[in-house]
């Protein structure tokens, strides 16, 4: 029981991170019908930028832990968001009218560029985050241990997700994003600036991914330049699992995948941990390609 509970909280914390990254995939897919393969690398850029800012500015020592981390998160999200917009300008915008698969190849190229730039700038080895920024105490709920760090990770991702959901559902800009996702031409005729919407999507998605990168750095303590691929693929699996293009689906898929993965690692085999997500991916695409709450992805043949 205690192991089950430990794996559950672990899975939910990791799942929250997957969900944050998955939101970036799903939002870009919703508006452009494009799988942004470079999104996983934007996530690692967030982790590295977070480390650089943390070490060079010393925010947490100047203004106190909590305020410092919040400021850091805002800065990382802003910077990664801007990189996302630049990525769209350089690699995707010239290909809006090309066949969709050209944009996919371009995305792959952008991903290679990002991960190798990180490697050249920071070196190929692992980088270590400073210790003790998040509390390492353990809470006991009904006698079961819950590390406070996991609660903070999960709570932060839930707050960001709910914030995004409210923004998309309740504001005028959010309505414009939803309209552009349904029909770009009709949205344009209704006076919506679709280019602005795409820019916004390429800001919000990478910003959330960057926040996830920072959280991984703070939670696990070490980051590598190539981790973007594996997190990206898993988050993409989460987006498919929930139904791509669907924002609540990405949240559900992320949390579910995190739990499945950590349960699988504990009860089936730890050595196969990384393969579990891919089995889930293949299974869901074969059995229910629409995902749990989403649109159709298989070709009609």
């Amino acid at each position: 029981m205690e192991q089950f509970f430990t794996q559950l909280t672990n899975g939910l914390a990791v799942g929250g991170i997957y969900a944050l990254i998955a939101l970036g995939y799903t939002m870009v897919y919703g508006v452009l019908k494009l799988i942004n393969f470079a999104h996983g690398d934007l996530f690692s850029i967030g982790a590295y930028l977070g480390l650089t800012l943390l070490v060079s500015l010393g925010l947490t020592t100047h203004v106190g832990g909590v305020v410092g981390l919040l400021l850091l998160a805002v800065m990382v999200m802003g910077l990664v968001g801007v990189i996302g917009i630049l990525l769209d300008r350089a690699a995707y915008k010239p290909l809006r009218t090309s066949p969709r698969l050209s944009a996919v190849v371009s995305a792959l190229g952008a991903s290679i560029v990002f991960s190798n730039t990180l490697m050249l700038v920071y070196g190929p080895g692992l980088k270590v985050y400073p210790h003790g920024l998040l509390p390492s105490q353990v809470l006991y709920i009904f006698g079961l241990p819950v590390p406070v760090m996991r609660i903070i990770i999960l709570a932060t991702s839930l707050v960001l997700m709910i914030g995004l959901y409210v923004f998309i559902q309740k504001t005028r800009t959010g309505t414009a994003i939803r309209a552009a996702a349904i029909d770009q031409d009709a949205a344009r005729l209704m006076g919506i600036n679709v280019d602005r919407v795409i820019m916004l999507v390429f800001f919000i998605g990478p910003a959330l991914g960057g926040a996830a990168g920072l959280m991984v750095g703070l939670h696990y303590g070490q980051i590598s330049f190539s981790m973007g691929w594996i997190y990206g693929l898993k988050a993409f699996t989460a987006a498919i699992l929930g139904g791509i293009g669907n924002i609540p689906g990405a949240m559900l898929g992320g949390l579910l995948l995190g739990v499945i993965e950590s349960m699988g690692a504990a009860y089936i085999s730890n050595a196969w941990k990384d393969a579990i997500a891919f089995f889930v991916l293949i299974l869901i695409l074969i059995v229910r390609p629409t995902g749990l709450l989403g649109e159709r992805v298989a070709e009609k043949i």
């Binding site: 350089a90 944009a103 371009s106 190229g109 560029v113 693929l233 196969w272 891919f278 293949i282 074969i286």
Partner: protein, 330 residues
């Protein structure tokens, strides 16, 4: 005009072939080994070209088929001592069978989803190899002591004497080019290109689109499996690291940058991606960065690749003179 152009092109191909065949006499062992790698990746690129170039299916797990072939060879050769070259067809069959099982359920997926599923497949294969599946793959260390191939009792060692292995690979490369050239101009090749450019029209003309797609996968995998044998015989030891996802990316880039669906394009791609970095050793660490930028720029400025496939031409005067057509008309 076009006749003249053809003559020039054939002249260029002959000159390149002569340069290629005489190259080992002017190069040292290391440089010859680079040529061997170019030949191996050229063959892998050509086998992927069937799936990605003609079939238009975004397949990024080709390293998995390559791995199945190489491991089949390594396991059987080290356990039963069967000579490496005898295992060529068997390794091909193993990879082809694997492809048939894997591709059957995923073949109908839309392009970008197929891409991500094949990435998942190659990662699962790599993890399975690392975890020593069935206790026969040797885990993360791989398999050592694969014997070198022998031709008519004459051993060809790829490490001590890359020049000898070069001619073995070149012979197989020539065979590969011939087979894929014939395949491209066969009914099968035409059907694949047709369903790639317009699958609904192809289906309407009576082409079994999913059947042809599946066979493209199986043939591509079969060939990659055989190349796996040649690779295992060349370096005599294999480990999961040789078949990572990045290997698939390299093969993918060879086809896309060189020219999807064009045999000269794929050969050029293999030379550019495997050979060119060796000429600029000091830029080695920027290799992938430059390839990434090249992929983005290529999609924007020349999405069909450097040497795009030429549309097939049917000389109209020859068609008119066909006697059987007149028979039918009468």
């Amino acid at each position: 005009m076009s006749f003249n152009g053809n003559k020039i092109r054939i002249g260029i191909y002959m000159a390149i072939a002569v340069c290629w065949l005489t190259a080992p006499f002017f190069l040292n062992n290391y440089q010859t080994d680079v040529l061997n790698n170019i030949a191996i990746y050229a063959m892998l690129g050509l086998s992927l070209n069937i799936i990605l170039g003609y079939g238009g299916m975004f397949h990024m797990g080709h390293a998995a088929f390559f791995a199945v072939g190489a491991y089949t060879t390594a396991i059987i050769n080290t356990t039963y001592g069967i000579p490496v070259l005898w295992l060529l067809p068997l390794s091909g069959l193993a990879a082809g069978l694997f492809a048939m099982v894997i591709a059957r359920p995923i073949i109908h997926l839309r392009g970008d989803y197929l891409l991500i599923v094949t990435i998942g497949m190659v990662e699962i294969v790599r993890i399975a190899l690392v975890n020593n599946v069935f206790g026969i793959t040797g885990g993360a260390n791989g398999i050592f002591g694969i014997s070198s191939p022998q031709v008519f009792g004459y051993p060809i060692n790829g490490i001590v004497n890359p020049g000898h292995y070069f001619y073995l690979l070149t012979a197989f490369l020539a065979f590969t080019i011939t087979v894929f050239y014939l395949l491209e101009h066969s009914r099968f090749g035409r059907a694949l290109k047709y369903l790639c450019s317009d699958s609904v029209a192809a289906e309407g003309s009576g082409i079994d689109t999913s059947g042809y797609k599946l066979w493209a996968f199986v043939i591509g995998a079969f060939w990659a499996g055989m190349v796996g044998t040649l690779y295992a015989g060349k370096i005599t030891f294999i480990s999961p690291e040789s078949f990572s996802f990045w290997e698939s990316v390299v093969m993918f880039m060879i086809v896309i940058l060189g020219g999807a669906g064009s045999i000269p394009g794929v050969l050029l791609g293999a030379f550019l991606i495997i050979g060119l970095p060796e000429l600029f050793q000091e830029l080695q660490q920027y290799r992938l960065l430059i390839f990434g930028i090249a992929l983005v720029a290529m999609m924007i400025f020349r999405p069909q690749g450097i040497l795009a496939p030429q549309p097939h031409t049917y000389p109209i005067d020859k068609i008119d003179e066909k006697p059987d057509d007149r028979e039918v008309a009468r």
